[in-house]
């Protein structure tokens, strides 16, 4: 009989982040698909009581917890030991988690430690003919595969935003504490470093992703570049719309090649093959050009619109819902003016 461990961690406030509820939804669906396999929930955090209460109504067989100050922050040595201890305590054959940065850094090591196997960046989990199959992308989102495995335990790390999170009433949960033997810990977490207040990065919480392409820094109709104006227009739009900023690889790389650059654009903004593949609800691409593989950066954006001067551009044609063949400088100036009203 298969059994499932839904592995979650708390955030800095001791609550469960949204991806934890997504993992729980996947675990419950998987259990139903397997004909009623049991689901345990494994919690990691400084204090897991509030988090356990939040999933009290999820119908878990057991709630297992690893808690203590050393588990309040993401750190490989402590997180790997905690996760491995929880898997052993539950004797699970499947471990479902979401690919938060904290778990992404540790779950493959845990798979190795417990003698299991792992699939990461999973976008779908199903049971077909009694076998569990997962979907994931290969070659940086350029081809999609359906995979199944014989090995157990099988850790399945689901990308955040792929499923509807589980929701249920909070209650009073009883957590079974799991003891962890820690190795010598030689790493201390000093804290977080945020980009400066005026620096834009890819923010998953934004409704809209604004993608700037290399066209912004190229010579315009008058034969001149207009980089300061481009910066003003882009930052003006980001400020007015609260959009998140992404950049094409060619624009991000321009700085290393000595070309004109947008000062706020860094590798943290890069989307596509060697950058992020964000999952915003809406995406507006401006001055972006190119065929595959450049377009993979916004494959997972739901509603896509583009502004560029080439009606046949592979970035937009067949990939965007709407392509405005126009000068982005002119259009964005008018958009900003309207948003200010």
């Amino acid at each position: 009989m298969e059994s499932i461990l839904c592995l979650v961690h708390t955030d800095s406030n001791g609550a469960l982040p949204k991806p934890a509820f997504e993992a729980l939804a996947v675990a419950k669906d998987l259990a139903a698909g397997l004909g009623g396999a049991s689901v345990d929930i494994g919690l990691i955090g400084a204090d897991v009581a509030a988090a356990a209460n939040a999933v009290a109504a999820a119908g878990a067989r057991k709630l297992l917890g690893v808690s203590g100050a050393e588990f309040g922050q993401a750190r490989y040595a402590t997180d790997a030991a905690a996760a491995a201890a929880l898997v052993k305590a539950s004797s699970a054959t499947f471990v479902v988690a979401t690919q938060t940065s904290r778990f992404a850094r540790v779950l493959a090591g845990v798979a190795q430690r417990i003698g299991g196997r792992i699939d990461t960046h999973v976008t779908g989990v199903a049971v077909k003919d009694g076998a569990v199959v997962v979907n994931r992308w290969y070659y940086r989102q350029r081809m999609e595969a359906t995979v199944t495995r014989a090995a157990r335990p099988w850790i399945i790390a689901v990308d955040p935003g792929c499923v509807k999170p589980w929701s249920g009433a909070a209650g009073a949960a009883k957590v079974e504490a799991v003891k962890v033997e820690l190795p010598e810990v030689r790493t201390q977490v000093a804290g977080l470093r945020s980009p400066s207040a005026d620096e834009q990065t890819i923010r998953p919480d934004a409704e809209l992703l604004f993608v700037a392409g290399a066209g912004w820094t190229k010579k315009q109709a008058d034969g001149q570049t207009h980089v300061p104006e481009a910066e003003k227009l882009i930052l003006g739009f980001l400020h007015a719309s609260q959009a998140s900023l992404g950049g094409s690889k060619s624009l991000v790389d321009a700085s290393g090649e000595g070309e004109a650059v947008l000062r706020f654009m860094t590798h943290l903004n890069q989307i596509g093959q060697t950058g992020a593949t964000p999952r915003h609800q809406k995406g507006l691409a401006t001055c972006c050009h190119g065929e595959e593989p450049h377009t993979v950066g916004w494959r997972f954006v739901t509603e896509r619109r583009a502004i560029n001067k080439d009606a046949g551009c592979g970035w937009a044609r067949g990939k965007a819902d709407v392509l405005y063949v126009a000068d982005a400088f002119e259009v964005m100036a008018k958009v900003n003016a309207l948003l200010k009203k």
Binding site: V106, T146, V147, A150
Partner: protein, 270 residues
């Protein structure tokens, strides 16, 4: 006295990202169409790891960089012709598939074995580098497993910066959500770092470095240990290109005012 590090960079080769990729089914499972014909490059994030390793080695005289690479020998040789001009390193080649469809755990076992076999490897001076994900499998799994197999529990992924202090401790910036970095301090080697982009630009080609490297690259390739990856227990039910094609509404004649109004309405739509 500065620590003389042994920096082992794990990095394989991937098809040039600008190539068209198409999956096919081979006897050994999924593969890329004309895989052996596709031009290859050093995996981009592994490349960043190599450049960061070379930078640390330069700052700590007596340090040495090793590049452990698993791939078809002929393709490795082709890629090394370019990579060898970027930074001084000693190649440890493993002759086997570089496909993204291989099993991470098997690749990790082969890499860990190769690292353990480096003569004079010293855990107290060992830094293991690699890309935090590859451009092929893109799982972010192999390096963590290599660390486990080597018994390294100080691991960092999505690293953009390492700053080594005089006492051998170091500060590390790891990428986390929302464009933030987690800042950690580690007491010292051994440690494993899966690099994101880092801060260093790709070094220009240096023919002198290339000549020096190639003197050891060619012998390393000739004695590359064959590695067989079976993918036991892993079954691909399907591998396909995404077929989703959108019906794009192309507005060629709309004026800027109307476009702006339409975009603003769309942005503000709930």
């Amino acid at each position: 006295m500065s620590i003389q590090y042994q920096i082992v960079v794990c990095g394989s080769i991937v098809p040039d990202p600008l190539q068209t990729l198409e999956p096919v089914t081979s006897a050994a499972g999924p593969a890329l169409k004309n895989e052996m014909m596709l031009p290859a490059v050093l995996d981009p994030w592994a490349g960043h790891a190599l450049f960061e390793a070379a930078n640390i080695a330069r700052q700590h005289p007596g340090s040495k960089v090793y590049l452990v690479s698993l791939g078809p020998k002929a393709k490795l040789q082709q890629v090394m012709m370019t990579v060898a001009q970027k930074a001084p390193f000693e190649l440890i080649a493993l002759d086997g598939p570089s496909s993204g469809f291989t099993e991470a755990a098997e690749v990790a076992a082969a890499l860990a074995e190769a690292i353990k076999g480096i003569p004079g490897i010293d855990m107290s001076r060992l830094l293991v580098f690699g890309g935090w994900e590859s451009a092929s499998r893109g799982a972010g799994a192999t390096m963590q497993m290599v660390g486990e197999l080597l018994g390294i529990s100080e691991q960092f992924q999505g690293v953009d910066q390492i700053t080594i202090a005089a006492d051998g401790s170091f500060e590390i910036l790891e990428r986390i959500e929302a464009g933030q970095h987690q800042v950690s301090t580690c007491a010292g080697a051994p440690a494993l770092l899966g690099w994101a982009t880092g801060n260093l630009p790709e070094p220009p080609n240096n023919p002198q470095v290339g000549m020096a490297n190639m003197r050891v690259v060619m012998p390393a390739l000739s004695k590359a240990k064959p590695v067989k990856l079976t993918g036991e227990g892993l079954t691909f039910a399907s591998v396909a290109l995404p077929k989703q094609q959108r019906e794009t509404r192309i507005e060629k004649n709309m004026n800027a005012d109307d476009i702006a109004k339409e975009i603003v309405a769309w942005v503000q739509q709930g």
